[in-house]
């Protein structure tokens, strides 16, 4: 694994400060951080909690690829991707992505590319548990 990347899938709560600290580097002038969190509602249904499941080996491999693609498109210093799995409560962080670059616009663009691509290709699945049932997100048309 290239040392500009740090990819992690974990059942432990994510810490934004830790992702930020790892993204910091001498030549960095900008760090963009995206945090996905558990919302209290989907449409009008109240979310009780979320369950995330990963095909872990492949998920890490796909996230490494995405980091490599981002590093080939923008002059990044560091890319941190921490993804939570297991049971999450409303308000908890599901994913933290931190990208450091010399100049700020690159940090925004690379970070957005990473979260957009991650949502399309990384084998992680989210089940929403409502007060009145549960559902795998996006499973059905």
């Amino acid at each position: 694994m290239a040392d500009y990347q740090e990819i992690l899938v974990t059942e432990n709560p994510l810490e934004v400060e830790k992702a930020y600290a790892h993204a910091q580097a001498g030549n960095t002038g900008a760090v963009n951080i995206f945090v996905g969190t558990v919302r209290n509602k989907t449409d009008t249904r109240n979310v009780v909690n979320l369950e995330y499941e990963a095909y872990e080996g492949m998920a890490i491999k796909e996230m490494r690829k995405i980091a490599e693609e981002a590093a080939s498109k923008w002059p990044v210093e560091k890319i941190i991707i921490h993804h939570r799995v297991g049971k999450l409560r409303v308000g908890e962080a599901t994913v933290v992505i931190a990208v450091s670059t010399p100049h700020r616009h690159d940090s925004f663009e690379a970070c957005r590319y990473i979260i957009d691509t991650l949502k399309k290709s990384v084998p992680i699945w989210k089940k929403e548990v409502f007060e009145d049932g549960e559902e795998w997100v996006s499973a059905h048309p």
Partner: protein, 80 residues
């Protein structure tokens, strides 16, 4: 040949197990595996998409499977 297939998310719920073993002709490809599974478990046809990963990488329809491959069914992902 005997293939072992890992199941995740709604695919696991549909089958009711984390892993299944399927018996297919030698040199069967990804499309053949999917056809077989969609006949055995018709609920797979209701999914928005269903992909196959071979050895931790997305595989195309024409990709030929081998007995020692790590094969996984990938229903629509929703990480992030």
């Amino acid at each position: 040949m005997k293939l072992s297939v890992l199941l995740f998310g709604i695919a696991r719920d549909i089958v009711g197990d984390r892993q299944i073993s399927v018996d297919l002709p030698e040199n069967e490809n990804v499309a053949g595996l999917l056809n077989y599974l969609k006949k055995e478990y018709p609920s797979f046809n209701d999914l928005q998409s269903l992909l196959v990963a071979v050895n931790d990488t997305y595989a195309k329809s024409e990709h030929v499977l081998q007995e020692n491959d790590e094969i996984a069914l990938i229903p629509p992902v929703s990480g992030g």
